[in-house]
Symmetry: C2
Subunit: 339 residues, 2 copies
């Protein structure tokens, strides 16, 4: 081969190598940047969240190992709409109506009579005790899988009275994005809710990307049963843990066994969870959804019977908790419905 040709050969080889490298380089590069928090305005809360995530995922004094990146989220009023009544209460009332034919005595017996008559005043008069009776009658005494099937079936047909869409479409799109954003940064995301674990597990994966084993909630005692070759877990009419207020850190310790580094709530029921998360050395972030948007969702705080936010709102500045103003900080509230 002439020297000339040899040089050409090498030139060709080099160009070939370059072409390939450019090709691979392109295919390896990140896809065009899409904002993972696109439904959040570029307001203080979003900046605080992204700054925190950068801080704990960047090598340095505040770096947090992946195993310790635990984020906990309240559900009602934090991940989905809790007005005009908690979704689980709407479910329980609907179950009373559905089960009434099997319980003829209910039509004369409070609190069931109040539900069947649509008598909200009598129902409210029954207070906590009445509600416990309703929950026991509709949530216990059956296998867990049977209860969960009932929940799934109900969610399939029930509609939010104001928004006329399935409750699982009354979840907050900015929070769904935040959960995914945290997970893509190595966080494990947990739900820690006053609602019952059994009620949330059937749909939390599809709605939030949170698997059953990362759903922590109020629990009933259960017992194991093996009968005619079938094994089942039967829900007992006895509370095991009320996962609210001081019960939230207890539930977190029991289910997770680590102190979270990020907690997100919306009411005084989340106070202790926020406090437990943020009152320890190292980088910590506490956040509160403030419902300020009567037009797109609801506006309520100190005076609300559901999701009352009073003490936590007062303490937030002192504790360094970030109060997210729904109206000004969320570009969109609910997911865009698929046509």
């Amino acid at each position: 081969m002439s020297q000339h040709c040899t040089r050409r050969w090498w030139l060709g080889a080099a160009v070939g190598i370059c072409l390939i490298l450019v090709g691979f380089g392109t295919s390896f590069a990140d896809p065009p940047v899409r904002d993972p928090l696109s439904t959040w305005n570029d307001s203080p809360s979003k900046k605080a969240i992204t700054a925190f995530v950068r801080r704990v995922t960047t090598e340095g004094p505040d770096f947090v190992a992946v195993d310790d990146r635990i984020a906990v989220f309240d559900n009602d009023g934090t991940l989905w709409c809790e007005q005009p009544v908690y979704v689980q209460v709407a479910f329980a009332l609907s179950r009373v109506r559905a089960l009434a034919p099997e319980h003829p005595d209910w039509k004369d017996r409070l609190p069931f009579k109040a539900v069947l008559d649509g008598d909200h005043r009598a129902l409210a008069a029954g207070g906590q005790k009445g509600l416990v009776e309703i929950v026991a009658a509709t949530h216990t005494g059956m296998p867990v899988d049977e209860f969960q099937s009932t929940v799934s079936a109900w969610l399939h047909t029930a509609r939010h009275p104001r928004f006329q869409r399935p409750y699982t479409e009354c979840i907050y799109q900015p929070m769904v994005e935040l959960l995914a954003y945290l997970r893509s940064n190595g966080f494990k995301t947990f739900i820690v809710s006053g609602g019952t674990t059994d009620f949330m597990r059937p749909w939390a994966l599809e709605a939030y990307g949170v698997p059953a084993e990362q759903v922590v909630g109020t629990t009933f005692k259960t017992r194991y049963e093996f009968k005619e070759g079938r094994s089942r877990i039967i829900i007992q009419p006895e509370i095991d843990l009320v996962d609210d207020h001081a019960g939230k850190p207890v539930g977190i310790e029991r289910a997770i066994g680590k102190r979270p580094i990020l907690a997100f709530g919306n009411s005084d029921g989340d106070f202790e969870m926020l406090e437990y998360t943020t009152s320890s050395p190292g980088p910590r972030l506490g956040l509160i959804v403030h419902h300020t948007d009567a037009e797109r969702e609801y506006a309520y705080d100190r005076q609300s019977a559901i999701g009352r936010l009073d003490k936590a709102l007062d303490e937030a500045p002192r504790k360094g908790w970030i109060v997210v103003d729904m109206k000004s900080e969320w570009r969109q509230v609910f997911p865009t419905l698929k046509q």
Copy 2:
């Protein structure tokens, strides 16, 4: 450029591209195949395990989605040595001796007196009630993090009386490999043990690769405390759940919320967990470690006070559970000690 040279140029480019592709191909290829279960002999149990994993991870009628690939493992006698006494009992007795100076009354009070005198007969005579008293005195009434630090410190210095190595080096190497093998096939691996959650969480990640939130065990009730700017979870002297026998499926439901597809135990205490796992449609695998190796570890089953394996051994053939013969199926029992 002459036609000759142009051809050379193309030839060079092609060779360049090929060189690069071969290079990338090599770097992308799997590393040289290393058996992930190298301490298992190629015996029936290993074949059954690998066949099961292939079955549930291969597209087809028995494919199981990653989210449902839940595997549960007993700890004592399944993942680590439980003879001559449960490690947690050795820890409790050691704590009684360490705390004795703060409790002068213990030297005259059973069951503590029996521990301090090394009087095993008196200790055994105290039975379950005595043990509960010892556990309450050594495991409760303190913050969880303080208890866990005590466990870590003890494990650092304590040695197994026969093998003269740290207890965390008396884990079973074949099981450590199996846990990793399952995880590399998309499984989530959980510990479900009669031992307490608080006792296992401090070391389960390092020993088994199982994070705190995947450790399910016996629990005490706890309460949340906020004092002088510090928040803590205090362990109460009251049992919350005994995660043994029928308590295991209950613990699984509470912590995981899904029926596992694989369960591994070694004693009758695991019977209900094995039964719950395997008595449901779809691919299921139940396994039992049979301690048959008096030379390298221990040989015991029906007559043992610790880790009795009787009913489950009888039922195994009928239930399709695989009994792993330690002596013939495990090439190695404990990890090779680092020098």
